[in-house]
Symmetry: C2
């Protein structure tokens, strides 16, 4: 089987391709595991990674139908659609967000539809689809009420995927991901960038600004669990999801203050003291509209993996980058 | 002030223009009522109506940006966006539904945005945005979960309108309408067409098929109340709606059997016996996914008008066509 990963040069895309190469198989159209022949990584820049015969690297614009047609074929039975313009950037550049997060998602679904082979499409959505007056714990039945253009575009992507699934054009699955922490590398333009930065930079000996108050609730997931959940969601028999194609993946409900406390326990006071509490109203407005927790009973019933506690997440990050 | 009505040749569009001409004013950008200078009726066919100096009739494709630019100007401070491909047709012709219900809605919002004058845009949405496992009475916080392409396209239109509003591109308002009954004229391709047909045809001496079971719950509103609600929604001060731009308008919760009983009470047994109960699984699947009632406390708090009972709705229809 062939696999397409959009956003393949990104952090999750790179983790995913490594996990797929290690795993070697993925559930195919018949419902049985099949060995992976080819993984195509599409991104706006060429993914940088050691040569691997099963991996094809393509640099191209995902909003260009010719590019999408060139990376999809009847042999493509799995698509992981991770490409997106992040929340802060989509808020600043409305048109770019619409083009990549909405138009390209629809184009991808249309190219899958014209193949007529009904590939499995795993789409990553976000806490940002929720907002407004929210219950303490978001339920599966809670209305999507995005308060950012990024969240709006993700919510529309979910609706499109569900309808293309219902029409039999694709086998669609939506992973609503908590905020991923701890990401390695550099800060990005996501409003949630600090949720990795306030752990990563202090561990690297650098100061990091936390733009939200200590009692701001966050809903976090480690990169390892995120990748494991994406693979599990792909391989899940379609009928288990039923007509609700979106799954709220399990997260850890912590406050920004809890994160500082965990960092202090794991790495000591000197490291934790490198967090500077400097509030930024723009970031607070976006992040504050997201839910601090959602009901995970459906995900747990389907045996999705989950993190146990944030101290362990920090320790895993330290081992990972060591 | 100038007003644009899309779907201006349609049933609601025609009622709306008459109501606007009678009313003579509409709340303008300053918040005060202003006299109506011009009403432009855009539709794919030219609206047929007696000459009226304040009304401009345009036949054109709403998915064509040149057409939209020609009917909108800085003087247009109110847009009633009623144009849509109906549910049954959007289900049969997926691409046409996407083009009119999604692409044209977005294009209209983009042309409003490029004007920079932030017109009030009233968009009509539908019971069809709801579906799946629903509570007996849908709440404002109930998740949109459309089970048809029409419902999906309306839900996406709502999300776009909310985000364009939040960004300050338009002053957006969404009217979630119950199924309108009794419509005059001929059956159409809406899955809900029967909800008017089983009253209208028997009153005209014709037999009418009811494609759903007698206990199927419907959520109905008369044309008169629908028009009154659209005008009230337009004139409402923006801050009263707040960040939730969609309003679930009040309806009557009746079963198909209740409708037959009401027809019998108002018009007699001979008329009511012209309803033939012939179930159609395609229609039942779509209509059965819609809510039978929703919580109307928000609409009532904002003093939106409502029908009192279905017998009166039938009587008003009989007077109207007499």
């Amino acid at each position: 089987m062939n696999i397409l990963i959009t956003g393949g040069a990104g952090f999750l895309g790179q983790r995913l391709v490594q996990a797929l190469l290690r795993k070697g198989t993925l559930v195919g159209p018949t419902g049985a595991p099949e060995s992976i022949q080819k993984i195509t990584l599409l991104d706006v820049v060429a993914a940088q990674m050691p040569h691997e015969p099963r991996v094809e690297i393509v640099a191209g614009n995902i909003a260009d139908v010719a590019v999408l047609r060139s990376v999809l074929s009847e042999k493509t039975s799995a698509v992981f659609h991770l490409a997106s313009v992040v929340s802060g950037q989509a808020e600043m550049d409305f048109d770019l967000g619409m083009q990549v997060n909405l138009d390209a998602t629809r184009l991808l679904l249309d190219v899958c539809r014209e193949m007529g082979t009904k590939p499995r499409v795993v789409f990553t959505s976000s806490v940002a689809v929720y907002g407004g007056a929210l219950p303490d714990v978001v339920q599966d039945s809670t209305a999507l009420n995005p308060q950012s253009s990024y969240g709006t575009q993700k919510a529309i992507g979910e609706l499109l995927l569900s309808d293309y699934h219902r029409k039999g054009f694709v086998d669609g699955r939506v992973a609503r991901l908590p905020t991923i922490s701890v990401r390695p590398g550099k800060p990005n333009q996501a409003a949630s960038s600090f949720a990795s930065g306030i752990i990563r930079e202090p561990l690297n000996g650098l100061e990091a600004d936390c733009p939200v108050s200590k009692d701001t609730k966050l809903w976090l997931m480690s990169p390892e669990i995120a990748i494991a959940c994406l693979l599990a969601l792909h391989d899940l028999p379609s009928e288990i999801l039923g007509s609700n194609r979106a799954i709220n993946l399990p997260g850890l409900s912590v406050t920004a203050g809890d994160m500082e406390d965990a960092l202090r326990r794991v790495a000591g006071e000197a490291v934790a003291s490198r967090i500077r509490w400097i509030r930024n109203p723009k970031v607070e407005r976006i992040v504050g509209s997201w839910p601090g927790a959602w009901d995970t009973s459906r995900a747990r019933h389907m045996a999705f993996p989950a993190d146990t506690d944030f101290d362990s997440v920090i320790r895993a990050f330290m081992e990972d980058v060591a």
